[in-house]
């Protein structure tokens, strides 16, 4: 030890070649090629979407486009933009309803003593796998009976469909927070609200964010429920409206593509915004235990 300290030198490396790990091997080539082929299957439709959206005479084929902005102008007409706004309203309400309720339920499930907690949680898990469309007829009857066939009640129903899975997502996040943290805050005389707002919610944020994204996307992409439960055409969201581009005679492929891109933008933006809280979550993941 001490001899090195006096010499101020990097130690003499051995004269032999350093050990190298082989970069290429047959298995690596095969597995990467397979992955590239599978990747192409996902990439080609996306490529078609972008190409068709700026093509004058877009068809179902993938081809080099004759550039035009006509498709976008068509997709941006007031009728269609209103549909996008409707989608936004529908999804935001559904997300807020589902996430707030799911957080409160998840926290209770995680921290409180609830009789038959296990069977109840299993039921919730089972419910998250049941497609809501099988209940659409009775729900329609109920809604039409009380005169709720409009955008707001539908948004709440869409939120409810996301609830079971969101409860599960958030419960797992709450479970991961050591109880000590809440007890420490409790000893500090913090109220339940303070403990939730200053400790539990910030630490559960990654879970809440994924649950919220799930809730948003769940409502954003829904077609059947709004179609059945919203009676006024002006309140219909994007997916139902997109259906209007396809009539019995022809399909306006360019407009469908342009509208699809516009329609997917909010979700992309949402992911970008939320990715910050995901990153924050990962930092916390390596925190003190």
């Amino acid at each position: 030890m001490s001899t090195y300290a006096f010499q101020h030198l990097t130690p003499q490396l051995p004269s032999t070649e350093p050990i190298r790990v082989k970069r290429w091997s047959l298995t690596k080539v095969i597995s990467n090629t397979t992955l590239l082929v599978i990747g192409a299957f996902f990439l080609l439709p996306m490529l078609w979407l972008f190409a068709a959206s700026v093509d004058t005479s877009a068809s179902w084929q993938l081809r080099v486009p004759d550039f035009t902005t006509r498709n976008y102008l068509l997709a941006l007409q007031p009728d269609y933009t209103r549909a996008l706004v409707n989608s936004l309203i529908l999804s935001l309400i559904a997300t807020v309803v589902a996430t707030v309720a799911a957080f409160l339920a998840a926290y209770s499930f995680s921290r409180q003593h609830i009789p038959w907690k296990g069977p109840i949680l299993l039921t919730i898990l089972f419910l998250s796998g049941v497609p809501i469309s099988i209940l659409i007829v009775p729900i329609y009857k109920m809604f039409s009976y009380v005169g709720w066939l409009s955008i707001f009640p539908t948004a709440v129903i869409l939120g409810v469909t996301a609830l079971p899975f969101e409860i599960y997502l958030i419960k797992n996040a709450v479970d991961a927070i050591p109880l000590d943290l809440e007890e420490a805050a409790h000893i500090e005389k913090a109220s339940t609200w303070k403990i939730l707002s200053r400790i539990v919610i910030p630490l559960t944020m990654p879970g809440i964010a994924s649950a919220a994204i799930f809730g948003f996307v769940n409502a954003w992409g829904s077609f059947l429920i709004p179609l059945v439960l919203i009676s006024r055409a002006a309140e219909q969201p994007g997916p139902v409206r997109m259906y209007g581009f396809m009539n019995s005679v022809a399909i306006n492929y360019g407009a469908v593509a342009a509208f699809s891109i516009l329609y997917s933008l909010p979700v992309v933006i949402l992911y970008l915004l939320m990715s910050r809280s995901f990153r924050a979550g990962f930092v916390l993941g390596g925190a003190v235990r």
Binding site: P178, D180, A185, K189, A190, A287, V288
Partner: protein, 376 residues
């Protein structure tokens, strides 16, 4: 500062009795250590004092105020958790100021208080870091600082050093003990490490299976264990426990053990005249000496064969087979002793402990008196 008393406290979880009928008085300004093996109820007792668990029966008083059902926040106590329970998303500064903020204490001097506590526990310059960016020792200091900033009536520490490495643990042990001495706040410290208990506590409560077996000063616990469990739990390596035969012979108690017969003054060792004929004899490795390095008061000789040795550097513990029974003895490190060699040991009968074989209670006079005083 405050005194604490547990009166007939029970804690029952479903059908499991964690704490059966606990009575304990903690004096104002005292540093008391709860020590015992895992699952002995020491942490449960601490959590009941903190208000995190409600006793099933009995009452807990702080300064003569019944706090049995008082929520934790209103007890004016501070607790350091084994996991430290630092808020990982907050900086050290926010961790320290969280308590005063939620208690809506004046914000004007909060910064000064944070700085003062940070200096006190040696966190200066780390206030803007997150807990994940701190070392184990620094996290421990934040946890201590968070307790200190409250200026509570009582400090509760739940195995605070168990996540630190050995060197740091020794260092923090001294620091916590020193801090407590300077502040003079009543402190309850839970640990399973008897060394921590012995070095830090004014008094130590030894727990086993939910019961307090003895509450005493470290020296008394070591010299006069109230029963076999305390004798073997306190001290490292543990006390040797050997079967012995006992007979009363006038003022003397005659003991047959380790292949020899020796006698002790009966009234010094045994409370009652009605003595069992079979007892368990306890002798600490420190009290079994190598003949060449023994105090002159050691008169009783025993001989055996060395079975194993274990050196710590400053001393060597030697396992000696005496008449078919293995005993651990402390030798000086310079002793040239090898496995298989013959070893001569000497001891002073006054260093012996006698326990009833069934109950494990001591037969000795003095500790019995101490126990009566505490009403255990």
């Amino acid at each position: 500062m405050a005194s604490v008393s547990f009166e007939g406290v029970w804690k029952v979880f479903n059908t499991f009795v964690a704490i059966p009928n606990l009575d304990l008085n903690i004096k104002d300004g005292e540093f008391i250590v709860f020590v015992g093996p895992s699952g002995c109820g020491k942490t449960t007792t601490l959590r009941m004092l903190a208000g995190l668990e409600t006793p099933t029966y009995g009452s807990i008083r702080i300064d003569d105020e019944d706090v049995t059902l008082t929520p934790p926040g209103r007890r004016d106590i501070a607790m350091v958790f084994q996991s430290y329970a630092l808020y990982p998303h907050m900086s050290v500064r926010s961790n320290l100021s969280f308590g005063p903020e939620v208690r809506k204490e004046s914000r004007s001097d909060l910064n000064n208080r944070v700085e003062k506590v940070a200096n006190l526990v040696g966190l200066h310059g780390l206030l803007d870091r997150k807990p994940a960016e701190l070392s184990g020792g620094q996290r421990q200091r934040v946890a201590l600082g968070r307790a200190l900033i409250r200026e509570p009536r009582i400090f509760l520490l739940d195995e605070p050093l168990s996540n630190l490495d050995a060197g740091l643990r020794t260092h923090m042990r001294a620091e916590i003990a020193d801090l407590q001495r300077r502040l003079g706040v009543t402190t309850v410290y839970v640990t399973h490490d008897q060394v921590e208990a012995m070095t830090m506590g004014h008094r130590i409560a030894v727990f086993d299976r939910g019961r307090i077996l003895q509450v005493d000063t470290p020296a008394q616990l070591y010299r006069n264990p109230a029963n076999k469990f305390v004798g073997t739990f306190i001290g490292s390596p543990g006390m040797n426990i050997l079967p012995a035969e006992l007979a009363r012979d006038g003022a003397l108690g005659r003991i047959k053990c380790l292949g020899s017969v020796f006698s002790v003054p009966a009234e010094r060792f045994f409370t009652s005249t009605d003595l069992p004929s079979r007892v368990e004899l306890g002798i600490r490795p420190d009290d079994l000496h190598w003949t060449k390095d023994a105090p002159s008061r050691c008169r009783e000789h025993i001989f055996g064969t060395v079975r194993a040795t274990e050196t710590t550097g400053s001393e060597t513990f030697v396992l000696v087979d005496v008449d078919g029974v293995e005993v651990n003895a402390r030798f000086p490190s310079f002793a040239d002793i090898r496995i298989g060699q013959k070893a001569d040991l000497v001891f002073d009968p006054n260093d012996l402990h006698f326990f009833e074989p069934e109950s494990g209670n001591t037969l000795r006079t003095e500790p019995a008196r101490i126990l009566e005083q505490q009403g255990v």
